[in-house]
Symmetry: C2
């Protein structure tokens, strides 16, 4: 006889290349549980719970599941909604109505906070609900876990993109600026350093939000590299910021007019080329005349913004990332059933066991250890304000996987 305790799975926030691996991991985990009745996929995160907009995920063909696992972006749809008290009451009405006893929410720190709020409301209202957050973010900025599923694949895209772009710049020279995602943390931008295999390879300069941005230093750095190599490739985070007094202001705010803010109070930094164009114009106007006078050649400056390609490009996936994302989904189910260390609700985290061979383990942690605050890149890993050190390379290479080695003739 089928159980009448049902489970809900949702996906939230920005998609990744492996978020569906976690979804399929949760589904596989639930298939092994006899105490679970309906497995309900909530369409577009909490919004689907609010509107009772579910898909039944019981008895899916394993071939389709594997195909979904290998497909980037959120197969259940996503949302940027952040439930408040009123919103949460409606979620509980839906949970009660559908006899939901297990809720798995795959997302970043905002989603962990949503899970925390729902979990706390369930406890205070005496409704028996186990809530497990499955970590997901290309930004890699969740606390407690060593790294986040989704990061390795996006970092792989960034490293490959910079590698190709450096080869491109090697052939036609000039200054090239690549703007990389990452609102508050430089993890993804830092991954560009993995493209550098030989001393004169780009990226030659790397700017992350963890270091205050100075236009004068930026121009001086470029001038130094360009004078030495006759070219310069730069990776800059979309979140780079000036320090003005004791406050920070985003460089992109200078570049964008009337930018958007989402429900979480986050400024829209992606889906626009404004920052790249602003930095490009800065180099053209300030450094162009100086270099033109010195070399008698016009300075070629270009900027690209990698944009949404970073998080959803099919076939560019780190194998370890895909594998871990899947396991995180399975562990969320296991932890929700066994409540290890008393954690009937929580988040799945990753612990690094060794660097070489790269090996990890998984553990449960409280939702309060993941929700809301983010984890910046270690400031000691940033060198001279414009480069990333070997500590990061050691940390990141297992997450990104082996990269091709370019063949060069000179």
């Amino acid at each position: 006889m089928a159980s009448n305790i049902n489970a809900v799975i949702g996906q939230s926030g920005g998609p990744t290349a492996v978020i569906n691996q976690s979804l399929v991991g949760v589904i596989e985990g639930l298939y092994k549980q006899s105490g679970v009745g309906k497995i309900l996929g909530s369409k577009h995160g909490v919004r689907g719970i609010l509107n009772s907009d579910f898909i039944e995920l019981n008895d899916l063909d394993s071939g389709l599941l594997e195909q979904v696992a290998q497909t980037p972006s959120s197969a259940l749809g996503s949302t940027r909604d952040k439930p408040d008290e009123e919103y949460c009451k409606k979620l509980f009405e839906s949970f009660r109505k559908h006899s939901v006893g297990y809720f798995y929410y795959i997302g970043g720190n905002d989603s962990a906070d949503t899970a925390r709020i729902i979990s706390e409301m369930a406890i205070s209202s005496g409704y028996p609900l186990r809530v497990y957050h499955v970590p997901k973010t290309i930004d890699n900025d969740l606390r407690t876990t060593d790294h986040c599923p989704g990061y390795g694949s996006a970092a792989r895209f960034v490293a490959l993109g910079l590698m190709g772009d450096d080869l491109d710049n090697r052939s036609l020279k000039g200054v090239k600026i690549d703007v990389i995602m990452g609102r508050d943390a430089g993890w993804l931008t830092a991954a560009s350093v993995l493209a550098r295999q030989q001393e004169d390879d780009g990226p030659h300069l790397i700017y992350v939000p963890e270091v205050d941005f100075s236009e004068d230093k930026f121009l001086g750095d470029i001038d130094r590299i360009y004078t030495k190599l006759g070219r310069c490739v730069i990776a800059a985070s979309e979140g780079i910021r000036y320090k003005v007094g004791d406050k920070h202001s985003l460089v992109t705010e200078k570049a964008v007019q009337g930018g958007e803010v989402d429900a979480h109070g986050n400024k829209q930094l992606s889906g626009t080329g404004a920052l790249g164009d602003y930095l490009s114009d800065l180099v053209k106007n300030k450094l162009g005349p100086i270099i033109a006078e010195r070399t008698t050649a016009k300075l070629r400056v270009r900027a690209d913004t990698f944009g949404y390609l970073q998080r959803s490009f099919p076939t560019i996936v780190s194998q370890s990332d895909a594998h871990e994302a899947r396991i995180c989904g399975r562990m969320a189910v296991e932890y929700s059933m066994t409540a290890p260390n008393g954690l009937a609700s929580g988040s799945v985290a990753i612990k690094r066991i060794s660097e070489a061979p790269y090996k990890v383990d998984f553990f449960p942690t409280a939702l309060t250890n993941v929700a809301r605050q983010t984890k910046p890149l270690d400031a000691a890993w940033v060198k001279n304000g414009c480069d990333i050190g070997n500590e990061f390379i050691l940390y990141a290479k297992g997450l990104v996987g082996p990269l091709p080695i370019p063949g060069k003739l000179f």
Copy 2:
């Protein structure tokens, strides 16, 4: 005894993911010729000839050659120089000085024109020189040949990029605009249609330079799709243009201030996000209020410019494209030795033999059949001014190779 007739190879114009396959094809071809002495790689195209800046390519290890072949961008470096009479005189001085009897130039229509000028100057000055152009361009706009090496791989990047971006847009909705390379021809933008495997898949709208752009039609098209699907993914060429009287003006010129012009008179359209941001603002400002009134939700609009990633991303390569690029290099050497149909100088072209199985053959053609003018996309393949028909899909799918099939749950 080694011959004292030497060969020069150069690469020109914008790099591609497979231009080094052609380079290695030429090198391999020359290794089989006993009548050739030194094989000189000219650094940065004609500029290397001008400055006697060569690398000897004889006796390279086959492992290194294969590694170079699989590396994107131009291993010899590239140039945008277009030789005039004075420049050509200097090239001949260099050719005479270095006893060069064979010149292979890998590039697009501008490079074919450079090859033509040099070839004609050699004939008129009585200098025995055989010049073969090896076709290369992601734009696919060369005349005579069925398609161009470099196109299939860039088209694969665009198709995969749009596929991932459509999945992304499916999860978070809104209007997404992707700006694709292609100054004068819509071939690369058209390839975005290959991402569409089911009826409601994006891209839902495709805009190419071959059709006059109208902002009113653009907004009306988006409104129609958005009303039907609640989302809309758009692929737009960087070269879309308005018709004003009997003249055309680029949309990007309205968006870019003080844009650059290169030595060939080409306007800089790449390396800036201005067009995407302009179109994005247009949709936000004109369509946003109308849709907000109808749906009570704020219209989410984002734009990405795929930029240089399209032409130099490592590992995103069409297998048929890589293979054909290699063969084109080898055939250039063979034709230069045998002068078929009296073509002691010329260009290598591709003829399509069959669609299924996809099969091609190669033939030599006069440089005048390739130089200067470009080949637009067949206007009959564009449907309703905003879509690409099945004729193109049939043409392109063999060039791009098999694509993944996304797994979907709804």
